[in-house]
């Protein structure tokens, strides 16, 4: 799976590239509009992660061009402007999703994955990891073919973990993923702890393995074994 990352901040670009490469994607990078435009003309990408504000043009024009040419590339917009207009305009142009700086890499990863899955399998495929099967279409989970009853947030939590296997998920990124960035949880991260414990218990009770590992002081990791 090929991904093009368009971002003018080289340091950020590097981190995104490293992070997504570890997920097994083939990543190519462009640090300005012209470079990106050139690459999009020459090659085909499954997903393009595009920063809107570039030194020599707007990322929105790239999206426009892709859509005009009917090129089937999934698009994730990155913007420093948390501006609603940009967001609506970008989504109107045909972008699949939108993420605002500063974002968590795990969140970016989860979004890219969701776009890729929607593009490649039209969202119909189940995600299977050992005994756990997740059906993103009807948001259901089963363990050893027994349906697991999860609350909406528990489902989202598990999904976030599975999308970021072997990655450290900080409490902060989990909180923002589950409840958005409007709520200021600050010192209330014990919420997350309780939440993860509940999920853990449900999986164990259904006969599943506990893949959720606590990383000292920082957060959690979904380990495959």
């Amino acid at each position: 799976m090929k991904i093009l990352i368009v971002e003018d901040e080289i340091e950020l670009l590097k981190e995104i590239e490293v992070f997504l490469s570890k997920e097994g994607y083939i990543c190519e990078v462009s640090k300005n509009f012209n470079e990106a435009s050139e690459k999009l003309h020459m090659y085909h990408y499954d997903v393009a992660v595009i920063d809107i504000t570039l030194p020599d043009g707007s990322g929105l024009s790239l999206i426009q061009w892709l859509k005009q040419k009917n090129i089937d590339t999934g698009i994730l917009i990155i913007s420093a402007k948390n501006s609603l207009d940009d967001k609506l305009y970008g989504l109107d142009l045909g972008a699949d999703d939108y993420i605002t700086k500063p974002f968590y890499l795990a969140e970016l990863n989860a979004r890219v994955k969701a776009i890729a899955r929607r593009r490649m399998f039209k969202g119909s495929v189940e995600i299977i990891h050992n005994e756990i099967r997740i059906n993103p279409e009807n948001k259901s989970v089963s363990i050893n073919d027994n349906a697991l009853s999860l609350t909406k947030k528990e489902y989202e939590l598990l999904f976030f973990f599975v999308a970021n296997k072997k990655r450290l998920l900080t409490k902060e990124s989990i909180a923002e993923h589950l409840w958005g960035d409007n709520i200021d949880l600050a010192d209330n991260y014990d919420f997350i702890y309780t939440h993860i414990n509940n999920l853990r218990k449900k999986i164990l009770n259904a006969g599943g393995t506990d893949y959720l590992h606590t990383v000292y002081g920082m957060g959690y990791k979904y380990l495959e074994e």
């Binding site: 409007n182 600050a186 919420f191």
Partner: protein, 414 residues
């Protein structure tokens, strides 16, 4: 004191002063003239008496006007005096002349008197004239002043009213009412320059804070990604992890403050169109659903009463932030096993909750960077809530009652 009142008062004081001075001097001048005239008249009478030949001057008396009697005492010369004489039952004021003459070897004392009653009348008339003219002048002054206020001062008061309405936030320039008075025009010129500058300075400031917030987002994103990468490497000691985690938390706080400020600036800049018709009940229900797990984890009892629907014209994103802030606060600042009550009426939303913290300072609560007991919060949540309410023409109030913190949002702006 109003300008007109002040002017009127000054005019009254000065005219009173001038008129009383005029009255007093007039009285004195008149009195001197009357005295001189009376004295002249007395002298004339006296001369007529002594010029009359062969008159038997001996003890002639025409009381109280003329009296002649033999008097052998020393002469003191001609003397004018004022005196009061009883005529009938009444006392009257008289001016008298006393002189001595020698006739046929005999010394006579001649007294001639003239009543001063007439001059009293003159003084009274004078006083009347002075008072009447004072009243007339006053009346005239008030009328003239009012006329002046209505015409000459009109542009001044118009502009004053406009200045009161002036706000840098509405971005409407101050256009003064023209006047043909030089001083007012000068003032208008200065005010126009000043307000234009204030508006442009405010614009610059707003742009600056918005740009600054924007520009900070990217560096924050870089720092955050670098820290995440560092933590991923998994080669740090516990001690190092603690430190890196502190940096990470601080960066998160910084980025929350930054995006909060950015949001505030955007609301202030009216970058959100309020053109969606939104059912508040639906928004409430979806957010209560969103926070369900948090509510359960704290063992909170949530009671929601939808008394009547309330549909407002608003912006969905802003309303989401507003409702999520309100409910989120009610959860976060609640005590374990506490309660949250939400009541919705048409035009009124009341959220109340129990809490460990005591009554909050309602004056400071909605200020930016106000922090209660929770020092690691950004202190922007309620400032944003208030700003959103303002933008939507709603009012938000806080009060503390029966151990409950109440937040009331209504469309009655008072």
């Amino acid at each position: 004191m109003k300008l007109i009142e002040k002017l009127n008062r000054q005019y009254i004081i000065y005219s009173l002063l001038v008129l009383s001075l005029t009255g007093i001097s007039l009285y004195h001048v008149l009195k001197a003239i009357v005295k001189e005239e009376t004295d002249e008249k007395l002298v004339n009478t006296f001369n007529q008496i002594i010029q009359t030949d062969n008159v038997y001057l001996n003890d002639f008396e025409l009381y109280p006007l003329i009296s002649i009697k033999i008097d052998s005492t020393e002469t003191t010369g001609r003397v004018f005096t004022d005196t009061v004489i009883q005529v009938g039952h009444e006392f009257e004021e008289y001016r008298q002349l006393v002189d001595h003459i020698k006739l046929n070897g005999l010394k006579y004392q001649v007294t001639v008197r003239e009543s001063l009653l007439e001059s009293e009348d003159i003084y009274q008339t004078l006083a009347l004239i002075v008072i009447l003219s004072f009243v007339f002048l006053l009346f005239l002054l008030v009328i003239i002043n009012r006329k002046i206020a209505n015409s000459i001062w009109r542009p001044f008061f118009d502009n004053l009213e406009k200045l009161k309405q002036f706000s840098v936030q509405t971005q409407e320039p101050f256009i003064p009412t023209k006047s043909n008075i030089k001083e007012f025009e000068e003032m208008n010129g200065v005010l126009t320059t000043l307000t234009t500058k204030v508006i442009s300075d405010y614009e610059t400031l707003k742009k600056f804070s918005e740009n600054a917030s924007h520009e900070l987002q990217t560096p924050l994103a870089i720092i955050r990604s670098k820290i995440e990468a560092l933590l991923e490497e998994n080669q740090l000691s516990d001690n190092q992890i603690d430190k890196v985690h502190t940096i990470y938390k601080t960066i998160n706080r910084l980025s929350k403050i930054n995006s909060g400020l950015l949001l505030l600036t955007k609301i202030e800049n009216k970058q959100y169109a309020l053109n969606e018709s939104i059912d508040i009940n639906a928004v409430l229900v979806s957010h209560m659903q969103n926070f369900k797990e948090l509510i359960d984890m704290k063992n909170l009892v949530l009671e929601y009463k939808n008394n009547s629907d309330w549909t407002i014209s608003a912006n969905k994103s802003l309303l989401d932030i507003l409702i999520s802030n309100l409910i989120g606060n009610a959860i976060i600042h609640n005590r374990n096993g506490g309660e949250i009550n939400i009541e919705l009426f048409k035009g009124l939303l009341i959220v109340s909750n129990t809490s460990n913290s005591a009554i909050l300072d309602s004056n400071m609560l909605f200020e930016r960077f106000f922090k209660g007991s929770n020092s690691s919060s950004t202190g922007l949540g309620l400032a944003i809530t208030k700003q959103i309410c303002n933008a939507m023409g709603l009012s938000i109030k806080y009060h503390f009652e029966n151990e409950l913190h109440f937040f009331t949002i209504s469309n009655i702006y008072s």
